[in-house]
């Protein structure tokens, strides 16, 4: 078994832009759930809105990069408003059902054959990323960093992705120290108490939903940039649940918990895949096919999510005293 390759692969996962997009989307969930107590099970929908808003405005309307980005962000704000107005006044589990349903509606709409010329239906869209790579300051070539190999494209997208993650993490950190953040945490702990202080709880919740949704939609764009392709099948409810696993792993009411959680999520997936496949190739494991090895990892994700929630709901970085559960 080639341990060097397995560990290099795991290391690549830590810095990959996909991990960054998971971290960013999970950070959005941290704003929703960790700080505001909103059960958003539709983060995949926000990601799809961002990715499709960006790619459709680039491909169908020929918009330049900043305009496409703006369209994606505005679309996700609208999506948050549509979701929030009917449900933010209701109990938490209604929001959960409505958000998961809305995310599925988005997925059905971008998959349907009746809109193929806009959304590309099940095959999705491609080649909308040129504007982004045209901004790259790196001349074509290979850029090895330690054991990791980048080319000009992957180095550029990796740096931008993690730059955005750091920026957003700083924004969340600052917001949660501000009076606004304290009110938000107050709503999470006791909505009625905050209401009786004369705060408009609905508006605060809506602002939190919009901010987390913006992070989700940015993450959706980052998710598509490495391959330059968007496919609707990637935005199912499972994506949302993986993001929740990453969030709860790191700690839901922490700024860097989502980053740490996303890194651990991908490293563990990569390591188990590498080791299992290595064992199968070397003939130590004969009862698994390589497809089954891949599925085994996701069984572990589900079990990990249950165990985390039961035995360490505050996650790795979290403080047990600051828990969002009522």
């Amino acid at each position: 078994m080639d341990f060097a390759a397995i560990f290099t692969n795991a290391l690549t996962e830590i810095v990959s832009p996909i991990t960054a997009s998971y971290a960013l989307a999970a950070l959005g969930l941290a704003v929703h759930f960790g700080y505001a107590g909103l059960l958003n099970f539709g983060q995949a929908g926000f990601m799809a809105v961002g990715a499709y808003g960006f790619s459709i405005s680039t491909l169908t309307f020929g918009a330049p990069l900043p305009v496409a980005l703006l369209v994606a962000l505005v679309a996700s704000v609208l999506f948050a408003l549509i979701l929030g107005i009917p449900t933010l006044r209701l109990r938490a589990d209604y929001l959960a059902i409505v958000t998961i349903a809305a995310a599925e509606i988005v997925r059905y709409i971008v998959t349907t054959n009746s809109l193929t010329n806009v959304t590309g239906s099940a095959n999705g869209l491609a080649t909308f990323e040129r504007g982004f790579y045209a901004l790259s300051p790196f001349p074509p070539g290979d850029y090895p960093v330690g054991p990791l190999n980048f080319n000009d494209r992957s180095l550029w997208v990796t740096l931008v992705a993690w730059g955005i993650v750091l920026l957003c993490a700083a924004i969340v950190w600052a917001l949660m120290r501000s009076p606004w953040g304290r009110v938000l945490k107050g709503i999470r702990e006791d909505e009625n108490a905050v209401l009786s202080l004369g705060k408009n709880v609905f508006v605060y919740k809506m602002e939190a939903l919009v901010i987390g949704g913006l992070f989700g939609s940015l993450a959706g764009i980052l998710f598509t940039l490495p391959t330059g392709a968007v496919q609707p099948a990637n935005y199912g409810s499972e994506l949302t649940f993986f993001l929740w696993t990453a969030l709860l792993l790191g700690g839901m009411a922490t700024v860097f918990g989502s980053v740490l959680g996303a890194m651990i999520f991908w490293v563990v997936l990569s390591l188990t895949q590498g080791i299992l496949l290595g064992l199968i190739e070397a003939g130590y494991i004969t009862f698994l096919s390589s497809a089954q090895a891949g599925q085994l990892r996701y069984i572990l994700v589900g079990v990990a999510l249950m165990l985390l929630m039961i035995f360490r709901p505050q996650g790795i970085l979290g403080n047990k005293k600051e828990l969002a559960f009522s």
Partner: protein, 445 residues
């Protein structure tokens, strides 16, 4: 305290193991049967598996109306000398994997068609297929008299969709009863309910592949579903209730359980779609409405079972106790009702109904697949929310309405959008009448 926690851990590890064992026992026998489908079926299966690299394929389904035609040879060839052929499987599907994008000539071998089902008039054969951006090219050959369908009147289409919608709605109602009862008695929104639906269908398939006659497979699968429900409550939910877990963490635990169960089923069952015995059924004409026999049987079965459940809830002591617990657990306990026993029974009955619903869903879709429960879960939620969370009769009415809505909307909407309408209506209902049709206001929040 420590001992208690320790016991919980042991119990807990036990349940995960037991669930895995359960799925394993039921399915291990089916693996040999799964391992040797025909060549064309395995090609189709590979394409349905998730996270698969994209292959370039030319594919299609050969049907006369809704009756698939098996054993027809179709050849694809290109000017570069590539040539491959496929034979339609029992569902009429055929897939040809091609090495590169380009232009291909697709020829249907008319000699292999059944004598009574010739190629429709005006159908080009061979057909020229040119790949664009898509990696799957569909080719449909019209066979027999299926072109006649377009000329039917709106009334007959509406009647047909209504009957299909009733059938779908009633099977949704069956599965919704469990979800709604569990919510009513414990407050848990159970995201793992969809996997209980899948479990019913998959174990029926496994048992019949093992050699059980269909009726026995159905009965045993429903009983197994009940056993799995019992096991879940014993090993997971009851200990969590004892710990005083709040509702939101329990909901997230149910998501973890759903993921784990879904991938356990995928692990043993694989990513293919399989058919239950007698999935192909003749079309009957009842009162001028044509309906497939399976849809009719499904409709009758679910109606009978639902009436039985309603009588159980209204007339028996257990039903009365269940309704008392759903109304106010503390008061029910104070009046001498064993709340934990009632909840255990609710889990068992609800899971049995989910398993039965899963079997009917497998006939309705048609096909057994590892993610079939995930597909129906949101429809169940829509039905339950529409009727009012926590009210059983609301769930029944809501589910039937959702079923009708889904099927009737296909008259105007593309079939791949048929679930969107129901989900959108659910969101609208929450906007204007959040307690649902039969719910009470104080439950809302």
């Amino acid at each position: 305290m420590f001992r208690q926690a320790n016991a919980a851990v042991i119990r807990w590890v036990g349940v995960v193991g037991l669930i895995a064992l359960f799925a394993g026992l039921a399915l291990a026998s089916a693996v040999p049967a799964l391992a040797m489908p025909s060549a064309s079926a395995s090609a189709a299966g590979q394409l349905q598996a998730p996270l698969q690299k994209q292959e370039l394929t030319i594919r299609g389904t050969l049907r006369d109306g809704s009756v698939p035609i098996e054993g027809v040879r179709i050849t694809a060839s290109s000017t570069t000398g590539f040539s491959a052929e496929a034979t339609t499987d029992k569902d009429g599907r055929w897939v040809i994997v091609v090495p590169a994008k380009g232009t291909y000539e697709v020829l249907l071998d008319v000699a292999t068609l059944p004598a009574d089902k010739p190629l429709s008039e005006g159908e080009a054969n061979p057909r020229i297929v040119e790949f664009g951006t898509s990696s799957n090219m569909g080719v449909i050959f019209k066979v027999g008299e299926n072109a006649a369908a377009a000329t039917r009147s709106f009334g007959s289409i509406l009647a047909e969709r209504t009957v299909a919608g009733l059938s779908f709605g009633l099977l949704l109602a069956l599965t919704a009863v469990g979800l709604s009862l569990v919510f009513g008695t414990t407050g848990l929104t159970n995201f793992a309910h969809g996997e209980m639906v899948t479990f019913g269908a998959v174990s029926t398939f496994a048992l019949s592949a093992w050699g059980f006659p269909l009726w026995a497979a159905l009965v045993v699968a429903v009983l197994l579903g009940g056993a799995l429900g019992w096991l879940q409550d014993w090993g997971l939910w009851k200990p969590l209730r004892r710990r005083g877990s709040a509702l939101v963490p329990m909901m997230i635990v149910s998501i973890g359980l759903a993921l784990a169960m879904r991938y356990i089923i995928l692990f043993f069952f694989g990513g293919t779609t399989e058919q239950l015995p007698s999935a192909q059924s003749p079309i009957l004409v009842v009162l001028g409405v044509s309906i497939s026999r399976n849809t009719l049987v499904s409709l009758v079965v679910s109606l009978v079972v639902i009436i039985a459940v309603a009588l159980l809830l209204l007339k028996t002591r257990f039903g009365k106790a269940t309704r008392a617990v759903a109304d106010n657990p503390a008061l029910a306990a104070a009046s001498g009702i064993d709340v934990d026993r009632v909840i255990r029974m609710v889990w068992v009955v609800g899971s049995m109904l989910a398993a039965l619903g899963g079997i009917l869903w497998a006939y309705y879709r048609p096909g057994v697949a590892f993610n079939m429960g995930q597909q129906i879960l949101l429809m169940i939620f829509a039905g339950v929310t529409l009727g009012g969370l926590g009210t059983v009769f609301g769930a029944l009415i809501g589910s039937v309405l959702v079923g009708l809505m889904v099927e009737i909307s296909t008259i105007w909407l593309e079939a791949d959008l048929k679930y969107v309408g129901a989900l959108a209506v659910m969101i609208l209902v929450l906007l204007f009448k959040p307690q649902g049709l039969l719910g009470r206001r104080e439950r809302v929040g």
